[in-house]
Structure formats: structure tokens, C-alpha cells
């Protein structure tokens, strides 16, 4: 099968959907050139640096029959738009009693590794998970980013596409035919018996590498990739843990009140899963600090295959 990079696959999803549906238009500070060339300035809008206004404009255009895509670019920049996200986009369908729908895609890159320090290396998806009324996903492969973006664009709700900075250049097979990936379906990326790793985005790949390593030690690890964060496929995660009896969650974000806490809670609060837990669930996350600049420091903050492998070994010692 043809190979595309993660960012090429994302772009292809958007271009294909825009060809299909003239109600879709795209807003961002600094437009994406190939999109601009194909669709022109009317549908690919270069905007002032006003993510708050853009987000609100997207909401209003969505409520008026369009299907806007608002590209915040780095997730950092969406904090100026937080009122429009939390107080408006997430609640507007509900508080108006479901009168009309607000089909709206937000895009944001997340993650560290770029040596761009605290403001530009954030992974704050958990903050958005805490807000009722937003769907969101975080793909780990070119195939997934394309399929999930298409689902998002066809969804009638505000959806956030978190895209991993570390994976933008990652290549992988992407079919030419149209396909979508439903929200709320986790994928078992590798089957195993002894422990389950639930990992996100870049850490899916690190987890798979750790699993290879552990395999040599006779430890068989299952790797589950949730893909969408809201809705989150608690069932598949629990089923895996029921099988292996052990859970490690790997997240590039800090642990506190994060995705990793949610998965630990979902698993341990479930009676059937709890009954089969052979060890306490383990979070292997970034340190709970702002992300520092210097490579030595930044490398120390993030989890990686070694910390994941070490975590699994610990689980097995329990």
C-alpha cells in the first residue's frame, strides 16, 4: 500500500472532505499552501492572530449551516480561545436544548521533544476531556489520523483533533479509497498475556518498542491504543486488563488529573476488572512540571521505551 506521512495523511483527509462538501471552509493564521492552492482564499482563510475570535467565528458559522475547520496550530495558542471552547462550543448545543447542531473541527498539535520549552511543548488534552460536550482524538499513525479526521469532519459536533508533533513526519500505509474510523474504538496494536500498556500517540510506538524488548525477557505485553479520548473505549481497555491482570498507562502529559488518571480509575473502579488486577495500575507519564528547553532536561521529563519497560518489569514483580 502507498505510504504517506502523518501530516500528509491529515492534509489528504481535509482536501478530500472539502472536495466532497462545499460547506467546509478552513481558518488559520498562516494558511496551508497546498490547501490554499487548491481551494483558494474564499475557503482557506488567512486570519489575524486571534484564535479566540476564530473559534467563535467557527461556532457562529457552524450554527449558520457551514462546517468550519479552525486550525489553532499549536495547542498552546488555543488557550486564548478557551472561553469560546469551554463556555460556548462545548455547551451551546446543550444549553439551547439541542435546537441546531454545530459541526466544527478544531485542529491542534500537541507534545514535546522539539526543544521549544514550556509554552510550546504542551499536551493538555486531559483538560478538555474534563469539559462535557467536546469530542476529541489523538491518533498514532498516518492511517488513523486520516480516518479519524474524516469522521470528525462528518460529525455534527465540535471535535478536537489533537495531532502529535513528534509524529508529523512518520510514514505509514494509507489506502487510496475513502474510509473513516469510528470514535470510541480502541485498537489492540499488539496482543500479549502478562500486562496491558495503554499508550497515546508517540508513546504507542515507544510501548511497542518496549514490548519487543520485554519479549526477549519472556514478558508478553499487550499494547492498546485508545485513538479517541472522548468517547473513550473503556470496554476494550478493561477487557485487555481482565486478560492480562496488569495495567501500565503511558502518556506524554503529566499525570495529575490527566488521561492516565482517568484510565487508572476506569479500570480499577470496574468490579470485574478490579477482581482480576494482579498489581496496582501504573502511570508512566511526563514529570508534573512545565517542559524545559535544554535537551538534557527535556529528555529527562518525558517517558520513553526504557521507562515503560522498567514499569512493566515492576508490575510483574508485584
Amino acid at each position: 500500500m502507498r505510504e504517506l506521512s502523518y501530516s500528509e495523511a491529515a492534509l489528504e483527509a481535509i482536501a478530500e472532505e472539502m472536495r466532497r462538501d462545499p460547506r467546509i471552509f478552513y481558518m488559520s493564521t498562516d494558511p496551508i499552501l497546498p490547501l490554499l492552492q487548491e481551494f483558494g482564499e474564499q475557503r482557506i482563510k488567512a486570519t489575524p492572530i486571534t484564535e479566540a475570535a476564530l473559534t467563535g467565528i467557527g461556532i457562529g458559522a457552524a450554527g449558520s449551516g457551514f462546517r468550519p475547520i479552525v486550525d489553532w496550530r499549536q495547542v498552546t495558542f488555543c488557550f486564548v480561545a478557551m472561553d469560546q471552547i469551554v463556555n460556548q462550543a462545548a455547551k451551546i448545543h446543550y444549553m439551547f436544548g439541542g435546537q441546531v447542531s454545530f459541526p466544527l473541527l478544531f485542529r491542534a498539535t500537541v507534545g514535546g521533544g522539539g526543544r521549544v520549552a514550556a509554552q510550546h511543548s504542551q499536551s493538555p488534552y486531559s483538560m478538555f476531556m474534563n469539559v462535557a460536550g467536546l469530542k476529541m482524538f489523538l491518533p498514532s499513525t498516518p492511517y488513523d489520523v486520516k480516518g479519524l479526521l474524516k469522521t470528525a469532519i462528518r460529525d455534527n459536533n465540535p471535535v478536537i483533533s489533537f495531532e502529535s508533533s513528534r509524529l508529523l513526519r512518520l510514514k505509514g500505509p494509507v489506502p487510496e479509497e475513502d474510509y473513516t474510523i469510528p470514535f470510541g474504538e480502541a485498537l489492540v496494536r499488539r496482543e500479549g498475556r502478562d500486562a496491558t500498556i495503554v499508550a497515546l500517540a508517540w508513546l504507542v510506538h515507544e510501548a511497542l518498542a518496549a514490548a519487543d524488548e520485554l519479549d526477549k525477557e519472556g514478558i508478553s505485553v499487550e499494547v492498546v491504543d485508545p485513538r479517541s479520548l472522548v468517547p473513550l473505549d473503556a470496554e476494550r481497555i478493561r477487557a485487555s486488563v481482565q486478560k492480562t491482570g496488569r495495567l501500565l498507562i503511558a502518556d506524554e502529559a503529566g499525570p495529575t488529573a490527566g488521561f492516565s488518571a482517568e484510565v487508572a480509575a476506569l479500570v480499577s473502579e470496574d468490579r470485574a476488572t478490579f477482581a482480576r488486577l494482579k498489581a496496582p495500575p501504573k502511570r508512566v507519564c511526563a514529570l508534573q512540571v512545565p517542559i524545559p528547553y535544554s535537551p538534557v532536561l527535556e529528555n529527562h521529563v518525558f517517558p520513553d521505551r526504557n521507562r515503560i519497560a522498567a514499569g512493566v518489569r515492576e508490575l510483574l514483580k508485584a
Partner: protein, 325 residues
């Protein structure tokens, strides 16, 4: 006033009826709030009726508006159904938002009313999106942002006026300058007292209008609407007006405003002013005026009765409408 010629006596009587409807609706809402039949918080628009009605009289049904926390007036002026409004205030399932919204969140997208909004300046960008939609639709539609003097100090005001001016969006930005933001006098927080003077920063028209003179509001809005429909871009209209009541209907709500100031503004009642003008011009006699009052009150009673006999939502309905199908 050449444009006043556009305003047939019929249209003026309709405007009067709408202003009267807003006032009576809110008098009732306030009483029912204090009686415990309406919950949460209610912000009354009484005294400012000429702004909503004057502007909306210059619009088509298909044009879109957005409102603020003080939203009843805009809803009624855009043609909202009193029954569904009152049912919403009463927290009933038949209300505009199925009881999920209340006074601060009445919306009717079917008539182009994109909602009251509890966040100061929170609606300005949203309705600017409706203006962009109108421009992209290419059918000559217009969108109107209503917002307060307080909101004009907030970031979205600036961001959106710049965008609308730069993209030539078919927009009206209507600032209801009632001289106060909650307990704080505009004089204490505005560098300049005329908000309209901010329009020059974006190269768009900025008008100051007597917001208690509905004909003046209508004329200014009509010109701005023409301009917007013709593709010439947005306008900022500042309507100087005043709210008669405290910021909200809560009992013992503080109100730092001088009694004399309030009384002086009450003398400039926008409803009485139009009534007088109409009578002078022979467009209204005492009998017609009483009929109008009776009809308005009857419609209101019907709305209240509808609300009262409507069921509350079922508790489980709280779980619905988080996401659209």
C-alpha cells in the same frame, strides 16, 4: 428626517407593540422571579427597548442577531414566541431550550436569534461567524451583534471589529451603552466616553445614536444595514440608553446609581416617546392604545398559562443533548 417617511404608521404601531411586549414580559418575569416561579438570575432590559426593536425593525427574518445576558428584548424584537420564552423561564420542557437554558440562554435559530449569552462579549465572535456565513451565502444577509458598554472593553470587541472591517463582513455592531457594567460606571473603565469613537481604528462608520429614540435607532440601523448588504462592510452603532432596574432582579441587589439619574432617564421613556409621536402624527388614538395594551397583556397571560401547564422535564433528560446526532 427623510427616512422617517419609510416608517408607515402601521410599522410604527408594530414597533410600539413590540416595545410594550418587552416591558410587560419583563415586569411579569420579575414578579414571577420574586415569587419563586422563575429561577437563577433574570436581567431586565426595561428602559432600553427602543434599541432592540429599532434595530430589529430594520432587519429581515433571515438576518441573524446575537444577544447578551440581558436577552429578552432582543428575542422578542426578533420575533420569538412568548410562550416558549416564558416556558423556558419557568424551566419547562416546552421552553426554547427544553428547560436547559433559562433566562440567560434563550435562543431561536429558526428566526435568526443566535442566543442570549452569559459571558460578557462572548457572543460577538459567534455572530461575526454568522456574518461570515451570510457573506459566503451571498444572499445579502446581515448579522447583528448586540453588546453592552462593558463588553466593548473586552478583547473580542477589538478582534472582531478588525476582522469584520478587514473582510468587509455584512455586520452591525450595536453597543447598548447604558452607562454601567453591573455596579461599575462606564466612566471609571473607559478611556473615552463615546464607544463609537473606536470605529475609526478600523476605518468603519461609528455612530452615536439616542438609544431611547426608536426612530433614530431605526434610521441609523437601516443605513448600516444598507451599507452591509451592499458589501461595504460593518458599522459600529452606539446607542446611549439606560436600564431602569438594578443589574439583576435579585432582592437587595446593590445599585450604586443616583436616584436622580434614574428618574431623569425614566422621563425619557422610549415607549412613551414613540406613543406621543404617533399620537401627534395621528397614527394612534387612545382607543387603539388601550386595545394594544389589552392584546399585549392577553398574549402574555397566554404565555404564562402555557408555561404553567407545561410539564417539567424528566430528570433523565439532563443526560440528553450533550451531543448532536
Amino acid at each position: 428626517m427623510p427616512l422617517s417617511l419609510n416608517l408607515s404608521p402601521d410599522k410604527q404601531r408594530e414597533m410600539l407593540r413590540q416595545m410594550l411586549t418587552i416591558r410587560r414580559f419583563e415586569e411579569r418575569a420579575s414578579a414571577d422571579y420574586l415569587a419563586g416561579k422563575i429561577y437563577g438570575v433574570v436581567h431586565c432590559y426595561i428602559g432600553e427597548e427602543a434599541v432592540a426593536v429599532g434595530v430589529c425593525s430594520a432587519l429581515e427574518k433571515s438576518d441573524r442577531i446575537i444577544s447578551t445576558h440581558r436577552g429578552h428584548g432582543h428575542s422578542i424584537a426578533k420575533g420569538a414566541d412568548l410562550k416558549r420564552m416564558m416556558a423556558e423561564l419557568y424551566g419547562r420542557r416546552t421552553g426554547y431550550c427544553k428547560g436547559k437554558g433559562g433566562s440567560m440562554h434563550i435562543a431561536d435559530f429558526g428566526i435568526g436569534m443566535l442566543g442570549a449569552n452569559g459571558i460578557v462579549a462572548g457572543g460577538i465572535a459567534i455572530v461575526t461567524g454568522a456574518g461570515l456565513a451570510a457573506q459566503m451565502e451571498g444572499k445579502g444577509g446581515v448579522a447583528v451583534a448586540f453588546f453592552g458598554d462593558g463588553a466593548s472593553n473586552a478583547g473580542p470587541f477589538h478582534e472582531c471589529l478588525n476582522i469584520a472591517a478587514s473582510w468587509k463582513l455584512p455586520m452591525l455592531y450595536v453597543c447598548e451603552n447604558n452607562l454601567y457594567a453591573a455596579q461599575t460606571a462606564a466612566a471609571a473603565t473607559h478611556a473615552l466616553s463615546d464607544i463609537a469613537s473606536r470605529a475609526a481604528a478600523y476605518g468603519i462608520p461609528g455612530l452615536v445614536v439616542d438609544g431611547n429614540d426608536i426612530v433614530a435607532v431605526y434610521q441609523a440601523a437601516s443605513r448600516a444595514v444598507d451599507r452591509a448588504r451592499s458589501g461595504a462592510g460593518p458599522s459600529l452603532i452606539e446607542c446611549k440608553t439606560y436600564r431602569w432596574r438594578a443589574h439583576t432582579e435579585r432582592r437587595n441587589q446593590p445599585d450604586p446609581r443616583e436616584k436622580e439619574e434614574i428618574e431623569a432617564w425614566k422621563k425619557r421613556d422610549p415607549i412613551l416617546a414613540l406613543e406621543r409621536r404617533l399620537k401627534e402624527e395621528g397614527g394612534l388614538d387612545e382607543g387603539e392604545r388601550s386595545t394594544m395594551e389589552r392584546e399585549v397583556l392577553a398574549a402574555l397571560e397566554e404565555a404564562v398559562a402555557f408555561a404553567e401547564r407545561s410539564p417539567f422535564p424528566l430528570p433523565e433528560e439532563a443526560g440528553e443533548d450533550v451531543f448532536s446526532a
